[in-house]
C-alpha cells in the first residue's frame, strides 16, 4: 500500500508522518506519534474517548483519516498543560474527583476545554449537552459536571484578574 506523507502540527509542534490512506488519525496519533493519551473506546464515533481538536474544532479522531490532517493543527490531552502547570480543568478534575478509572478523562478534558473557550459561563444544561458525546461508565457524570463548573468559575476569575 502506498503511504501518504503528511505534515501537520500537534500540540504546537511540527510533525511529519507517513500513513496508509485509510488509516484513522486516532491510529496515527497512538501508533505512529506515540500519543497514547488519546484513547480508543469504540472506533465508531460513539464514545468520545478519542476526542481531539482539529484547527480548534472538537472531533472524534477515530472518524478522521490521518491523511486529512495535512497542514492542520491537532490538539490532544498531552498539549493541555502549559509548561510545568496543569490546565485549570486538569486541576479541577483531580480536585473534584471527576475521574475513577480515568480512561474517559482525556476525551472529557479536550471536550470541556472547547466548551469553555466558546462559552465561559455555561449553565449545567449547556455543560451536559456539550459533553453528551463523551461516555463515562464510572462516575455517573456528577463530579465531571461539577469539575467543569468550578473550572469555568476559576477561569473567569483569572480572566478578570489579568484584564
Amino acid at each position: 500500500m502506498n503511504g501518504v506523507t503528511v505534515s501537520a502540527k500537534v500540540n504546537g509542534d511540527a510533525v511529519q508522518y507517513v500513513c496508509p490512506p485509510d488509516e484513522s488519525l486516532l491510529d496515527v496519533l497512538r501508533n505512529r506519534l506515540n500519543l497514547t493519551g488519546v484513547k480508543e473506546g469504540c472506533g465508531t464515533g460513539d464514545c468520545g474517548a478519542c476526542s481531539i481538536t482539529l484547527d480548534g474544532r472538537l472531533v472524534c479522531s477515530c472518524l478522521v483519516l490521518g491523511a486529512e490532517a495535512e497542514g492542520r493543527e491537532i490538539g490532544t490531552v498531552e498539549g493541555l498543560s502549559e509548561g510545568g502547570k496543569l490546565h485549570t480543568l486538569q486541576e479541577q478534575f483531580i480536585e473534584k474527583a471527576a475521574l475513577q478509572c480515568g480512561i474517559c478523562t482525556p476525551g472529557f478534558l479536550v471536550a470541556a476545554k472547547v466548551l469553555l473557550e466558546r462559552n465561559s459561563n455555561p449553565s449545567e444544561e449547556e455543560i451536559r449537552y456539550a459533553l453528551a458525546g463523551n461516555l463515562c461508565r464510572c462516575t455517573g457524570y456528577d463530579k465531571i459536571v461539577r469539575a467543569v463548573q468550578s473550572s469555568a468559575k476559576i477561569m473567569r476569575r483569572g480572566k478578570k484578574a489579568s484584564r
Binding site: G41, C47, E78, C101, G102, I103, N134, G140
Partner: protein
C-alpha cells in the same frame, strides 16, 4: 441509634479526608498506561476470528491460505490448545470459551486466531481462514431454554441440586434453594398475598476500555503478560494452568484499568495471545474491538423471576417466596444462586424460600457485573413489596421499615446478621428532603432497597520505608476506582505521617504473594486491612530501632503521632525519634525498615442501600426522564468520601441505564443485533441529573476501622426504584426491564384495554 458500636467513636486524622489521588496527574495528562498503551519491540498484532452463528458444528477449518500470507507469523485453532485440565470441567469451560473446540456456542465465539506483522495483514489473514459450519438449533431465551424440547447446549450437563440426580442432559445446570420456616403456613396467615412475574434483559458492564493485552512467551516457557484486568494473580494462575506453564515463570502486570465492574475478572483472549506469542516467538498485542467486547465478553444474565409475598393487615410480612431463572450463557455459572441468596436479604422474615435455576443458552458466557445477580432479584422483590404496601394502604417506606432486617435477624440465605444498615438507610430516606419534593403531572416517585455481601479473600502487602522517611506501600489488588488514595490514607493514619509521604504501587505477580481478584468490593477492604497490619509490623521494627538507639528495652517504647517515644520517668531525657529520623539512621541500625502482611481478610461486612428516585414519563412517547435521584448507603467507614460517593453515583447511573435503555437484542437467528455503543445506549451526561448521596457509617465490627465494601451495592436498588417510580407515574405496574419507551407505551395501552 440502636445500631451504634464503639467504632463510631474511633478518632481518625487522615482517614475520612478528601485528598487528591496519587494517580491523578498521570490520568489527566494522558500519561497513565492502560491495556492498549504498552508496546514491545518486534511486536505482532493478534486478531481473533469469531463465529457468526449462534450454535454450529465446526466441521472443518482450513488455515492454509492464511498461513501462506506474507507477514503472518502464527495461526491457531482449537486443536492448538491441548487439554491440560486433567478433567477439571471448570478449567475446560474457560479454555473452550477462549477458543471453540469443534462447536461454536454463540454468536461471537472465538474459532481461530492469527498474529501478523500489522493490523492490515492480520485482518487479511482472518478473511483467508475458511471455516465450514453445520448450523445447529439454538436457544437464547431463558424460559425457552428450560423447556424439555429446547436444543441442548452441552450433553454432559446434568442438573445438580435435585433428587434423584437426573440421568439425562438438560440446560438447567444447577438448582439452588435458600430459606427457612414454613412458607405454606406463612401464606395461610396472610391477609394480603401478591404474586407476580418479572423479566429483565441482558446488559453489559460497558467499561469504556476494551480488553487489551501484550503477551510474550518464549520457547523456554517463561513469559510476561501486560493486561487490563481486575485480578492479575488469578489471570496468571489460569493462563499458566491452561498453557502448562510454571506459575512462577509467568509474570503478569496489571495495567491501569479503564473500568471493569466484574467484566475483567475472567480471561477472554489472554491465553490465546500467549499461545500466539509462543508459536511466533515474538510479543503479541491483542486488543478487542468494541463489537467483540459486546459479543464475546461480559454480559450479565437475562432473567425471569416469580415473587410471592404475603402480609398481615398490621403490615408484617408472614411469608415470601421466589423462583429465579437466570441464564449464564453457554457455560454453567452460579448467577441464579446469587440471585436467590440476595433476593430477600433486606428483610426480617419468619418464612422464606427462594429457588434459583442456572440455565444455559446460546449467548456469551455471563460474567459478574457489580453485585452480580442482585439487581434483577431486587427488581422483582422490591416491586412486589411496593404492591403489597399499596394493597395494605401503607406507606411503602414505613412498610419496609416495619419488616427490615436488623442485628440478630437470620438472613434468608443463612447467617445471622451483626450490626447492619438497612434500617438506618430507610430512616434516612424517610427523613430526606427528597421525599418532600412535590410531584407534578406524569411524575412518580419510587423507593427501593438493595443488599450485597462483599468479599475479603487472600491478600498480601508490603510496606517499605525509604531513608528519607517516605513510604512505599505495594499492594496486589488492582485500583479500579481510586483505592490507591484510600490505601495511602490508611498507611498514613497507622504510621502517623502525612498522606503525601506515602506512595502506593500495584505490584506485579512476581513482587508479592497471591492476591485474589479485585471483586466483591474487596479492594479497599482487604488491602486496607493488610496495609494496617503491614504498617503495624513496620512500627514494631521502628520501635526496636529506637530502643536500640536509646539503649533501652523495646517494651519502654511506644509509637505515637508518627514518632517513637520513650515511656517512663527514667527516660524523660530522651527526646522522641520521628519516623524520618529513624529511617535516616536505618543503614547503620540494621538496614531497611519494612512491614509485611498476608491475610485472608475474613469478615467483609454486608452492605445495604436505599435509593429514591423521581421520574417523569412522557405519555405520548413513553420516554422517561430522571428528575431527581438519591442514594443512601452504609459504608461502614468512608476512607475517602469522594470516591465512596463516586461509587454510589456510578452504580446508580449504571442501574439507571439498565432500568431504562440497555439491553442485548437477539434476532430469531440467534445473532446479536446491537453490538455497539450507538445501538446499545448507555446513559450520557445529558440523560442524568446530579446524583445526590448520603453516606451512613455503621461500622463493620470485623475490620479495624469498621470498613465495609462500598463498590457494588449501589447498582442493586435502581431497577426497582425506577420501576416503582415509573409504575407510580403511569399507574401501571412495570414488570419488564429495561422500561424502554415502547415497553412503557405498550404497558399503558394494555392497561387502557
Amino acid at each position: 441509634m440502636p445500631y451504634e458500636t464503639d467504632y463510631t467513636n474511633q478518632g481518625f486524622s487522615k482517614v475520612g479526608t478528601r485528598v487528591n489521588r496519587p494517580d491523578g496527574v498521570d490520568k489527566v495528562t494522558g500519561r497513565a498506561k492502560y491495556g492498549a498503551d504498552a508496546n514491545a519491540a518486534g511486536q505482532l498484532v493478534g486478531r481473533i476470528l469469531r463465529s457468526p452463528h449462534a450454535h454450529a458444528l465446526i466441521t472443518k477449518i482450513d488455515t492454509s491460505k492464511a498461513e501462506k500470507l506474507p507477514g503472518v507469523k502464527a495461526v491457531l485453532t482449537g486443536k492448538d490448545f491441548p487439554d491440560l485440565t486433567g478433567g477439571d470441567r471448570g478449567m475446560m469451560n474457560i479454555l473452550e470459551n477462549c477458543m471453540a473446540r469443534g462447536r461454536a456456542l454463540y454468536d461471537g465465539h472465538a474459532v481461530a486466531a492469527v498474529a501478523a506483522i500489522d493490523a492490515d495483514t492480520a485482518n487479511e489473514a482472518l478473511k483467508l481462514i475458511k471455516v465450514t459450519y453445520k448450523q445447529l438449533p439454538h436457544v437464547t431465551d431463558v424460559d425457552e431454554a428450560m423447556k424439555p424440547s429446547a436444543p441442548i447446549i452441552h450433553d454432559w450437563v446434568r442438573t445438580t441440586g435435585v433428587t434423584p440426580a437426573p440421568t439425562t442432559a438438560s440446560n438447567v445446570a444447577q438448582r439452588t434453594e435458600f430459606g427457612h420456616g414454613d412458607i405454606d403456613a406463612g401464606f395461610a396467615q396472610a391477609d394480603v398475598i401478591i404474586e407476580k412475574s418479572f423479566k429483565t434483559e441482558q446488559t453489559h458492564q460497558g467499561y469504556i476500555e476494551p480488553h487489551a493485552c501484550l503477551a510474550t512467551l518464549g520457547p523456554d516457557g517463561s513469559g510476561e503478560l501486560w493486561v487490563t484486568t481486575q485480578g492479575h494473580f488469578t489471570f496468571r494462575n489460569v493462563c499458566a494452568s491452561l498453557l502448562g506453564l510454571d506459575v512462577a515463570k509467568l509474570r503478569v502486570t496489571a495495567s491501569e484499568i479503564g473500568g471493569g465492574f466484574g467484566g475483567k475478572t475472567h480471561v477472554w483472549t489472554e491465553p490465546v495471545a500467549l499461545q500466539l506469542s509462543r508459536r511466533a516467538n515474538r510479543p503479541v498485542k491483542l486488543v478487542m474491538s468494541r463489537d467483540e467486547v459486546f459479543k464475546a465478553t461480559g454480559p450479565t444474565s437475562s432473567t425471569s423471576v416469580d415473587v410471592k409475598i404475603g402480609a398481615k393487615r398490621n403490615g408484617k410480612i408472614t411469608a415470601a417466596s421466589a423462583e429465579l431463572r437466570y441464564q449464564s450463557g453457554a457455560f454453567p455459572g452460579m448467577w441464579a444462586m446469587l440471585g436467590a441468596m440476595t433476593s430477600f436479604a433486606c428483610y426480617d422474615l419468619k418464612n422464606v424460600k427462594s429457588v434459583g435455576f442456572d440455565v444455559l443458552v446460546n449467548r456469551p458466557k455471563v460474567a459478574a457485573y457489580r453485585a452480580p445477580s442482585a439487581p434483577m432479584a431486587a427488581f422483582a422483590v422490591e416491586s412486589v413489596v411496593d404492591m403489597v404496601a399499596a394493597e395494605l394502604g401503607m406507606d411503602a417506606v414505613e412498610f419496609r421499615i416495619k419488616n427490615a432486617a436488623k442485628k440478630g435477624t437470620k438472613a434468608s440465605y443463612g447467617p445471622v446478621y451483626g450490626p447492619i444498615g438497612i434500617g438506618p438507610t430507610l430512616e434516612a430516606v424517610k427523613n430526606h428532603p427528597h421525599m418532600k419534593r412535590k410531584l407534578g403531572k406524569n411524575q412518580g416517585r419510587g423507593v427501593a432497597c438493595g443488599f450485597w455481601f462483599n468479599f475479603g479473600g487472600q491478600t498480601c502487602t508490603d510496606l517499605n520505608i525509604g531513608v528519607d522517611g517516605s513510604v512505599n506501600l505495594t499492594v496486589g489488588t488492582v485500583d479500579v476506582g481510586g483505592s490507591r488514595a484510600s490505601l495511602a490514607l490508611i498507611a498514613a493514619e497507622e504510621l502517623g505521617i502525612d498522606y503525601e509521604q506515602v506512595r502506593v504501587t500495584i505490584g506485579d505477580t512476581n513482587s508479592l504473594g497471591h492476591n485474589d481478584t479485585t471483586e466483591g468490593s474487596r479492594g479497599t477492604f482487604s488491602s486496607g486491612m493488610a496495609a494496617i497490619f503491614a504498617a503495624r509490623d513496620a512500627v514494631e521494627v521502628l520501635k526496636q530501632r529506637a530502643a536500640a538507639t536509646w539503649g533501652i528495652p523495646v517494651e519502654q517504647v511506644v509509637w505515637e503521632a508518627g514518632e517513637a517515644r520513650a515511656k517512663g520517668k527514667q527516660n524523660n531525657n530522651l527526646p522522641p525519634l520521628s519516623l524520618k529520623e529513624i529511617a535516616a539512621k536505618s543503614p547503620r541500625t540494621g538496614g531497611p525498615i519494612a512491614g509485611h502482611n498476608e491475610v485472608v481478610a475474613d469478615g467483609a461486612g454486608v452492605s445495604f442501600a436505599s435509593h429514591m428516585c423521581d421520574v417523569e414519563v412522557d405519555p405520548e412517547t413513553g420516554a422517561t426522564k430522571i428528575l431527581r435521584y438519591t442514594v443512601v448507603q452504609d459504608a461502614g467507614k468512608a476512607i475517602h468520601p469522594d470516591y465512596v460517593e463516586g461509587q454510589f453515583q456510578g452504580g446508580a447511573a449504571q442501574g439507571i441505564g439498565w432500568a431504562l435503555n440497555e439491553e442485548y437484542v437477539y434476532g430469531d437467528d440467534g445473532r446479536l443485533q446491537n453490538a455497539g455503543f450507538l445501538d446499545y445506549r448507555i446513559p450520557v451526561c445529558s440523560d442524568l441529573p446530579f446524583i445526590d448521596t448520603q453516606i451512613l457509617e455503621i461500622p463493620n465490627p470485623n475490620h479495624p476501622y469498621g470498613v465495609r465494601g462500598v463498590g457494588e451495592t449501589s447498582i442493586v436498588p435502581p431497577l426497582a426504584a425506577i420501576g416503582n417510580a415509573v409504575s407510580n407515574a403511569v399507574g401501571v405496574r412495570m414488570d419488564h426491564v429495561p422500561m424502554s419507551p415502547p415497553r412503557i407505551l405498550k404497558a399503558i395501552e394494555a392497561a387502557q384495554g
